[in-house]
Symmetry: C2
Subunit: 339 residues, 2 copies
Amino acid sequence: MARLVIDAVGGDNGLAPNLEGAALASREFDKDDELIIVGETEKARKYIEEHKLDIKINHRFVDAVNNVTMDDSPVKAVKEKDDSSISKGLQLVRNREADGFFSAGNTGAILAFSLVKLGRIKGIMRPALGTVFPVGNNPLILDVGATPDVKPEMLYQFAIMGSEYCRYSMGIDKPSVGLLSIGSENSKGSMLSQKVFDLLNSDNRLNFYGNIEGSDFFENKVNVIVCDGFTGNVVLKFGEGMAKYFKESLKGIADTSFKAKLGLGIAYNEIRKFFNTVSYDEIGGAPLLGVDGISLVGHGKSNVKAITNALKNARRLVENNLIKHISEHIEQRSFSEEG
Amino acid sequence: MARLVIDAVGGDNGLAPNLEGAALASREFDKDDELIIVGETEKARKYIEEHKLDIKINHRFVDAVNNVTMDDSPVKAVKEKDDSSISKGLQLVRNREADGFFSAGNTGAILAFSLVKLGRIKGIMRPALGTVFPVGNNPLILDVGATPDVKPEMLYQFAIMGSEYCRYSMGIDKPSVGLLSIGSENSKGSMLSQKVFDLLNSDNRLNFYGNIEGSDFFENKVNVIVCDGFTGNVVLKFGEGMAKYFKESLKGIADTSFKAKLGLGIAYNEIRKFFNTVSYDEIGGAPLLGVDGISLVGHGKSNVKAITNALKNARRLVENNLIKHISEHIEQRSFSEEG
């Protein structure tokens, strides 16, 4: 049984994808699951009625203000917007009225509210935001921005959390974990990454692969890629920028000659299909790991499919008791802030 | 007048591209320039004779052993291979018999030998390896791997060196400098990047743009991108991996249907042309900045064009007195290792 909160007003496209996604996801939920739709209740009810959406499980509405913009700083949001859908939604998880939360709203604000409302899992030093890389074997990368300044033991904890997430979200029994570095040998890398290498190597509950390099994101070598939040964020955004650059370049190539335009026109559908597979719609949201509750973040541009997948993922993580598993793995080691 | 050393045996393809590149570059050199061809002299002479290469400027041969493999560790190379072409070539620069050095050999070994033979420019804390990113406005990124562990003042020095390189290699009068970070505002980023931001902001000889993010590599925002050698190396290799992935994906798309194959076949030449422009052949080698002499590194796969451009670039840097300009800019500030 899972009780899930959806931020109905989160994301660039407002109610529509959130409510449509909720309805679609509910088809695959159990009878005793529950959905709590947080946001502008009146508008949400109206949308559901007008569009004849059928949410097939128990659901209820909680009214909240749609006032966290995509540009709000996390600090500002937490200080001034406690009446927001993000805040109220996470409060429901905190109060044990719900088991998981999803929002396609402002990532920084969701991170900040999650930390404030849910707190950290006992023993966890810092949270990590993970994201599934939509190519190849879909590795999970963490952290991609929650914790830019890390100590070795934090990265070790990210590896544990990523490994458990991979197991309980994607059903991979012994996910392999790679440490992002700048050389494949143990002796290569920064002082930080060399220390982390030894920590990861010392935990036989982890399936540690060793160092991986930037190019290995595309080589299906590991299921989990561990890095600090600074490097992870830079790489993630670099990848988005490069994908956009390639798409635009193909358009540019089509403009260079009649032959190119003709050829790319003929292949257009297949090219489009390829770019659709390399998309974040399938990944089920980005998990904020380390907080004491399921909290998933969606891209601001999330469409119905992305929302549907995120809710199904949230349900899976609740059912599989992700938080308990992380907690148990963490408890077996003692950590010090000194790292 | 420039006296340049070429490592005739550096790179995956041995003598051929190095000697062909030298001959081609020499056409654009002055009569009083000199080329010193370091490597297996007998074989080199034979190649030049057999292929009727015309090296149009003064040149001489220095015999050396071709024994630094692409897999040798820098430490091993420096310890055991002082008779190598890399070592002997850099020794010529050290002895003031030459003004600049280029090799397409083992990058780590070239870095290590450059440091040992040339030493650092007075005041420079750590060296940085720069590389010109072959898209858009061709920004220079540094460091891409020479110094993975940095302090704020090191990054500040990288900005100075990158800015001077951009000026004297590419002729950009006031190159704009961006600091790679994970948010555009000053307050965003790691503790390190926030400190570097203030340092860059304080030097009015730098044209400091502010923070840039991973996606901005493709947006033509700045001429120089400053980052630590860990992040820079990860991003560089990620970009190489992603470019390869896209190329292979296009081939994969062609295999999905007859229509796709036909279309991409028709557009093939233009697509190939595009990928040829996004190449490192044009960038003139990767400069190792901070050592007391011109030292350029080429990709192991460097072809004739890449070698030609690297030698022309080396000559430009000598003629324009890059080392003196870096030295003067650095001298105006005082740096402490404490950063």
